[in-house]
Every structure is written in structure tokens, then in C-alpha cells.
């Protein structure tokens, strides 16, 4: 049905595009890939970083950070709400806290890579009121160049997540918790 427009547009582009110019090779810009730099960057964008004494300290750390009786979704802690990729919206909506695994972090900007495989449901990282991501501190790279180099592909859906949801749309005043998670904590182990 849209074939004519497709052909028309491609022909117009072919007629208009200039002689080919080269595609540059992007150098491997590296830098410091330290926990300190990652922490400073994430703290600077309103995220929180907590260093765990080890994987075994995870449950205690989460209940200390979120002492109230939260409706919890998680693949790595005993959950109070079971979530899968087809969980209906009315079960997702009341979730207070999600504790998920992150794949790797980026020191220059405090970002973590959250692939679909770790999300339980595509909407969980944004529908939950609070988000905790658990990251192996050996998996921190320096810049976005190394970050993308880590990814053979981006899967069906994947997010570079940097801090809690925020906005400054009212007079440029920073407000945390626009539509997604109101807080983001990265637990390093």
C-alpha cells in the first residue's frame, strides 16, 4: 500500500544525495573505569551508590534501605509480586520496589546497561516507584565507546539507565520522579 511512497522517497533521496564521503573510524576513547568515578557521576545525577560487602549482603542491604513493607518484584530476591513478561497492567501498577541485576556500568556518566533479560517485564523499571540495580563492580567501563563495544547486539529492548526519572520542565527547577522510578540505587558487589 505504501509502496509508491517508498519508491518515490528513495528515488528523491538518490537524486539529491551528494557524492559519497567516508565513514570515519572512531578511536577507542578510554579513561578511568573506577568505582569512584562511577559513583561521583551517578551521585551527580541524583542516583545513589552503595557498596555491598558481598552478594550475601544483598537482602539485608535492601531491607535496610527500604524498611517499609514494600510490594517487591525481583528475580534475585524473594519477591512479593511475581512478574513475567506478560504480567497484566493491574498487577504491575501497584509495585513499589524492583530489585534487578544490571549488566555493566559506565564510569564517565554513571549509566548502567539494563537488558530486557534482566527486567522481568519491559515496563517494570519505569512502572515501579523505586528501583534498585545490582552491579558487579568489576563490570565498570570508562566511556560510552567501551559500553557499546560490550554489546554484540542490543536485544529486543535495552536501556542505558542513568539515575532516577527526572524533569526540569517547570521553570528549570529539578524535580526527581517525573514518570519513572522516584529513586535509583545501584548496589555494587
Amino acid at each position: 500500500m505504501s509502496m509508491p511512497s517508498r519508491e518515490k522517497m528513495l528515488a528523491a533521496v538518490r537524486a539529491s544525495q551528494p557524492a559519497a564521503t567516508p565513514l570515519p573510524v572512531v578511536p577507542a576513547f578510554t579513561g578511568l573505569a573506577s568505582v569512584a568515578r562511577f559513583t561521583a557521576a551517578l551521585t551527580g545525577i541524583s542516583g545513589r551508590v552503595v557498596v555491598l560487602e558481598g552478594w550475601h549482603a544483598l537482602a539485608a542491604a535492601v531491607s535496610q534501605l527500604f524498611p517499609a513493607d514494600y510490594r517487591l518484584a525481583s528475580a534475585i530476591l524473594p519477591a512479593t509480586v511475581a512478574v513475567a513478561s506478560n504480567t497484566p497492567i493491574d498487577r504491575l501498577a501497584p509495585i513499589d520496589l524492583a530489585v534487578l541485576r544490571a549488566e555493566f556500568g559506565v564510569a564517565e556518566n554513571g549509566t548502567v546497561w539494563l537488558p530486557e533479560a534482566h527486567m522481568l517485564h519491559r515496563a517494570l523499571p519505569t512502572v515501579t516507584q523505586h528501583l534498585v540495580l545490582v552491579l558487579d563492580q568489576r563490570n565498570i567501563v570508562a566511556t560510552m565507546h567501551q559500553a557499546y563495544a560490550q554489546l554484540p547486539d542490543v536485544g529486543g529492548y535495552g536501556v542505558f539507565l542513568a539515575g532516577p526519572s527526572k524533569t526540569a520542565d517547570i521553570e528549570q527547577s529539578l524535580v526527581i520522579g517525573a514518570h519513572g522510578a522516584r529513586s535509583l540505587t545501584v548496589l555494587l558487589h
Binding site: L10, A12, N109, A123, G155, G156, Y157, D169, I170, A181
Partner: protein
Amino acid sequence: MSQAPNHADRSERFLLDEERTTWHDETLWFIRQKRDRAVYATPEFQELRELASQIKDHTLSRLAEYLEQFEARALANGVHVHWAADAEEHNRIVLDIVRQARATRVVKSKSMLTEECHLNPHLLAHGVEVIDSDLGERIIQLRDEAPSHVVLPAIHLKKEDVGETFWQHLGTEKGLTDPQQLTEAARQHLRAKFLAAEVAISGVNFAVAETGSVVVCTNEGNADLAIGLARVHIACMGMEKLVPRLSDLAVFTRLLTRSATGQPITTYTSHFTRPLPGRELHVVIVDNGRSQQLGRPDFRASLKCIRCGACMNTCPVYRRSGGHSYDFTIPGPIGAILSPNIDMRKHASLPFASTLCGSCTDVCPVKIDIHTQLYKWRQVLGAAGEIPASKKWSMKLLSRVLARPGLFAAGGSFARFGLRFVPHALSHAPGYNPWAIARELPAPPQQSFRAWYAQQRPNQA
């Protein structure tokens, strides 16, 4: 005035509120300064700009091939790909998808393209509720206004305005002006919309040819929340949004928000590649004048734009005239070089809304020669007879004088003599010399440069 208002007329309206103009000017300059701090903290920033510029140049030079590659990969990923030659076709395609999904409730995240195509009125006219979910966009949607900036759509408003709007439409307390409380009210209001929406529409920041992915960048998480919940996702993209390789995103994500707001990266940089089973992902690729602009050698570089807004934040004219004074979807310096391609007559005053200071070109992360293009559009408009009348005659006179050295010398001595005696009321007479509205003339020198130069000569011998 019988003529349609031009940029200067619309700016005058903005300038009526002096306090607000000053706030607008200073706030945007503050954002420019945040941009500078983020840029200086990134040692390879200038190299990244050069790389981004070359990647975009290359992509535009082989755009047809990359569009085909993107389409093939996306189709293989189970994505529906649609082609829209113009705004009307884009709107028709989107409405068809919504109807096929038997949906009446749509949430939309930020997309300048759907603004450009006027998608909202089209959907509303056909019985589809469409809610803008970005906070700034929602505010202006409730007020029935257009965005005034590509990144900060409600930057022309004060918190008192937002409080008034939310009191009227969301039932918040009258006189509420606290941004935290206003945002919370919007969060509650929009949550209900997210949970109920059947279709999510988004823009596209980047589309990756080698993987067939579309990438959406937001701070609020509104795109991810809506898309994660709705059964159908429609991503609307201008055909120039492509990059060849996944790894190219490293260059662009490092540049985009540092240039826009001084942030190191957006909160959510989301890659959509394959829909889940039982769900749909549609990508609508839109031309709407882009292939024509690609065919203009002097102006094709404007298609490299990644919509960071840095040229607006830095522009001395934009900061003091406001986004609405441009009366075009994309305001500011970049809007002034994109708009004449769409309608030369209607937007003829925009390339003149510039001091040609070049600040826009200096900050542009993809190195578009914006101020050179502004200058070139002036030549094109001049040749097409689209220059404003007062400029046309003074320019003609000036070019005659400059072409005749004797006349120039005589005119100079007349001015040096005459200006001393011309009453202020005459040189600044209202309606006669718009240049003089906010400016004073310098005191005329006693002697011309020619006379001074002639005097120096004997001493040198």
C-alpha cells in the same frame, strides 16, 4: 499593518513583558553555561564533534542505501515499516494503525516530527484521545500552545502559569506554584493515562541501520513507561535520523545532552529493536521536504541536526525573542535555516532574525555551519524578491553608494557634518528607522579614515 506579522513583530509581543524576557534570556544563558562546563570536562569533545559531523555527512551521502538497510533489518526483526512522503501521509498512516488496533486512547512522548506534521489535531478530529506525556509537552497541550524550544517545550512559561493551568485542568489547589507539587500532580494524572493507553507513539532520536533499532532519549521515562505497557508502539522518524553503526551511538550519546543541558547523558537511552510476541512495533519514515533539502548543496547540512537545542540557548536573538516568535515547529537558528525550505515566503523574515555572530555554529555538536547558511538564505531570499521592503530599499541604496567611491566619500563627509545637527527626534523618529528603537548613534568622528590615512603618509616616507 496589512502584511502578515514577521519575526520582529512577534518578538515585540514577547518583549512587552520585560521581567519575563529577562528571565528567559538569563535562564537560557545559564543552560549554555552548564553546557560549557560539561564540554570542558570532556577532553575529546572537539574530536567527537568532528566525528559526529563526518558520520552524519557520510550517512546523508548514502542515505538511500542506509534507509534500505534499516528497513531490511527492521522487517527481519518483526517491525512494520511505513514510508510517508509528507505530513498528510504520515498522519493517515498513524491513524490507520490506531484504528486497526481498535484503539481510542493514545499516549505520545516527545516528538518534534509529530508537531511538524500536526498529528494531534488529526487524531483528535477522528475521535482518538492523544495525550502528550512529557511534562512540558503536557503543560502546553493543556494550554493549547505550541512548544517554544526543542528540548524545553514550556520554557516560555513561569510556574504561576503552570499552576493556573493545572488548577483549571487537573484540579490542583488554586495558586499552587511549587514545581515539586505541580510535577507530582502531573505524575498522578499521567499515570492513569499510561495505564489506560492502548497505543504509544514516540519520536526517534537515532535509528541504527545495521541493527534496525530505533533509539529514544528521555529524562522522564515517559516513553519507556508508555511503550512498555501499550500493545502497539508507533515510532515516527524523520528520514535523516539514521546512523550506520550501533557503535556510532557512543559518539552521539556523549554529545547530545552535554550540548543540550550539560547533563552527561539522558536518564533513559532506550533501544527498541524487536516487539514482544503479541505486540506490534511500527516505524514510520517521513520525508516531508527532507529529500528536497538534501538536494540543496548550501543547506543540506541542516539535516545533520540532532535537536539538542544548544543553538537556541546561545542565540542572543532567540533568548530575547522567545520560541513562538519564529512561528515554526523548530525555532531558533536551526529553525531559521530549515523553515525557508518548507515555505520561503511565509518564513522570509527568519534568516534575518540573527546577528550572524556565529555562536550557534560554535556550539553545534554536529558542526552545522548555521550562521553561514543564514547568510546564504538571505542571498536566496534577496534573489527571489522576498526581502522585507524597508531592507530592500536601504540595501539597494547602500550597494549603489558602495559601488561609487566618490559618492561614498561625499556621503561620509555629509554625515560627519550633518549628524551633529540632526535632531534626535528625526534620526529616531518612530516608524521611520526601526534600527534606532533600542540603539543610539555613535558620536560622528571629526575626520574620515581616508583623510587620517592621507595625513599619516608623509611621516612614513
